[in-house]
Amino acid sequence: MSVDLNKVRNIGISAHIDSGKTTLTERILFYTDRIHAIHDVRGKDGVGAKMDSMELERERGITIQSAATFCNWKGNDINIIDTPGHVDFTIEVERALRVLDGAVLVLCSVGGVQSQSITVNRQMTRYKVPRIAFINKCDRTGANPERVTAQLREKLALNAHMVQVPIGLENDLVGVVDLITMKALYFDGDNGEIVREDVIPADLQVKCAEKREELLEAVSMFSDELMEVMLEEGEINPALIHAAVRKGTLALEFTAVFVGSAYKNKAVQPMLDGVNAYLPCPTDVENMALDLDNEEKEFKVTNDPADPLIMLAFKLEDGRYGQLTYVRTYQGKVTKGDTIVNSRTGKKVKVGRLCRMHSDEMEDIDGCGSGDIVALFGIDCASGDTFTTGEISCSMSSMHIPEPVISLAIIPVDNKAQINMSKALNRFTKEDPTFRTFVDHETSETIISGMGELHLEVYVERMKREYNAEVTVGAPQVAYRETITARAEFNYTHKKQTGGSGQFGRVAGYMEPYEEGEYEFVDAIVGGVIPREFISSCDKGFQKSLVKGSLCGSAVTGVRCVINDGSYHTVDSSDVAFQLAAIGAFKEGYMKAKPVIMEPIMKVSVEGPTEFQGSIMGSINQRRGMIIGTMEEGNYTVVEADVPLSEMFGYSTILRSLTQGKAEFTMEFSAFRQVPKGVNDELIKKYQAEKKNG
């Protein structure tokens, strides 16, 4: 169990796809003696990198699911979450950032700051995660870490400064110069495991002196003592510079830039030194919890192991040994055999087994303390649940979970596939809150929905590979919504007399737009005109009506239903009768309440050479996109726009052909917005035709 929290680092490794962060993690594990052989992401040995434990990840060379691992570097315990690089898996990145104290932003020395780096940086800023940068792939042709550092300043608005200078670049990369100690570092041995210090090569001395001067000028802002020494032109103790860099990093006002090549085993160890020296320990970060006994008032967690336990479950996995729950402890401690309480459900559970995760392998431990990230076995909970020992009732701030925006129908090819598909879906939905599934009762098709085409594609692939569930896939469908725009009255009587006991219920009231949430039911019945026991039946009936709107068959949201009158029959009124009355009342009021169709709008960011700016803007305009702005920086331009998701299918191909493959885009969900009249009419027509054809 970690006791000294100053020696704990919870870090994430985040970056644009293919920046080499999985390779970097692999080298970290190797240099910290967690693994004893190096396997490349797309290695010829067919083993794949340690952290890419999913077969699909190894094949595609991208990380889909983040894995947690633990290592120790020079006496510090480092918990690492390797995070995915594709925007469709943003929930994985966000969940990791929520529980981490610091991060390493990995960049490609050729590609520089790319679109996903911007998204990841935005997320890091949202969660106030201090970061250092590692400019990887300095061995590649066209490597230019200085340009990338300038981009960090310009594009990400980070106060980024190199703390190292590469010795040679591209094929000539042999080591780095540490600008703080002013020593050259070389990486000897078969796998670069021996770090050798030497004097700075003569041809780099002037450049290094200049760069050091720049660095000192930037970090002296965070240390009066350093500034004083500089003004007095005295000898500067490296410890003083380290302290200033750390202060700036923790304040989110400085980003130290490391350089190297993980693939070529160059300069990973100094970056790890940077993690130890500059990234925060759990006590450096302020984490807030909500007091459930005091109107969810925020309070700061203490990080003190002696205080009552507060622990957040941030990720679930259904593995070989049952449900595996990744938790971060914010204060207190937990040991094997302890009983803990789930704040959301109030249920008590016993901690049977705890372990540290090392990708898909694990190491049993007896307990964990404040600041730790570990996994628990056999705990039934949902992602985002908070555990305590029951002395306090609190919840960690809820995590931002975006709504799914795209769906597609999947049809199992045979009975066996049907059974396997159910098992797979059950597991995936528990693991990933942005992945949802339901059965369309009209078509009897299973619908899966998520955050993008690739997101769903990966789950379909996983079904096939991990569960042997062969499915045929329908065309992707946009998740439209319906809502009302006006208040409308209803007064509906459900009456059925077919021999035996009949059905009777009358429901009257009104419905109106409800902007604060998805649905609200208000019982304004006085004088018992609808008996108490049937009030909930009315609510149920309205909720059933929300599942499928009558315009295009999409879910209805943003509706407040108020009942203020009704009548009943002592014999014929029942739960079912009032549910049916409410369904009828909803139908009656709905069309009068001026319903509209809403569509998901994506925040799209297209980045490409300036010469193609006109074509890019034209392509967005053709897709009913609203250009919010353009950002011209040297030879490239970023165009930011809001575009309906329905118009974005196949955009990558169009963009490639428009820009000779030189532009790329990212998108994330922004909001639901009313569709234009033409689209509205078309969707209604299509839905009516579908209904007619059964």
């Binding site: 608005a157 803007m617 609203m626 250009i627 919010i628 702005g629 353009t630 950002m631 011209e632 930011e640």
Partner: protein, 235 residues
């Protein structure tokens, strides 16, 4: 709330200029102040007024990032939202947002020809045709009379009703034109129809009208800005 009433205390309305802008355009305007005194806040309020009139605004920001420029609008709108009914306020804001486009340039990469090239891209493809141009961050110390004249012609070519610039004054530079326009715009003040100067006075901040052709208020008049929000003080 009607959208026309959203910005009652907008600088253009207080100056009595908004009708003239709507009728036939009002030429070039200039907001001057020392660094950090709120020029962008005033420009954004002017832009919002145009947007509320249904006019398309192109906000050109030189040397500032896209997110920072957008944040100015979000902040000013958030201040205006205080005390308003949230439902109708938000729907008005959503309605006027398509009337704004932001374009950012690096200081070194900006000139009138480049702006025209970008604008042509937008207009020719029928993507966006602004009638009000905001140019925030233009370097007047590097520009001369002829450069600014180009903008006048540019305005006519593109059917713009107004171009608003911001210019940074320096405390140690006391050069002024006869009309009282401070450096660095003292030699080109004839090109501007409106010149406003933000000047701190004791605890308050004043918006001085140095020059205003066809304004409802006389030059020399000062409006008081709320220093915490940079909105014109009500009443």
């Amino acid at each position: 709330m009607g959208k026309k009433n959203l910005v009652m205390n907008n600088p253009l309305r207080v100056l009595g200029l908004e009708k003239k802008v709507q009728e036939k355009g009002a030429g070039m305007g200039l907001v001057m102040a020392s660094a950090g005194l709120g020029k962008t806040a005033i420009l954004v309020q002017i832009a919002l007024d145009s947007m509320l009139w249904g006019d398309k605004v192109l906000h050109v920001s030189i040397g500032e990032g896209f997110d920072k420029t957008r944040a100015w609008y979000d902040d000013i709108l958030a201040l205006m939202a205080v005390g308003e009914k949230s439902e109708s306020f938000h729907s008005t804001v959503a309605e006027i947002m398509p009337n704004r486009m932001i374009m950012t340039f690096k200081e070194a990469g900006f000139n009138q020809a480049k702006l025209e090239e970008r604008l042509d891209d937008l207009v020719q493809q029928n993507i966006y045709k602004p009638v009000c141009l905001i140019i925030d961050g233009y370097d007047f110390s590097a520009g001369n009379h002829a450069d600014l004249e180009e903008f006048k012609e540019f305005m006519v070519r593109h059917g713009l009703k107004m171009i608003w610039f911001s210019a940074t004054t320096h405390r140690d530079d006391d050069r002024r034109s006869a009309a009282g326009v401070p450096a660095p715009c003292h030699e080109i003040d004839d090109l501007f129809d409106v010149v406003l100067l933000i000047a701190p006075k004791d605890e308050a901040v004043n918006l001085k009208i140095i020059k205003c052709n066809n304004c409802a208020v006389d030059p020399g008049t000062s409006l008081t800005l709320d220093p915490s929000t940079m909105l014109i003080q009500k009443g």
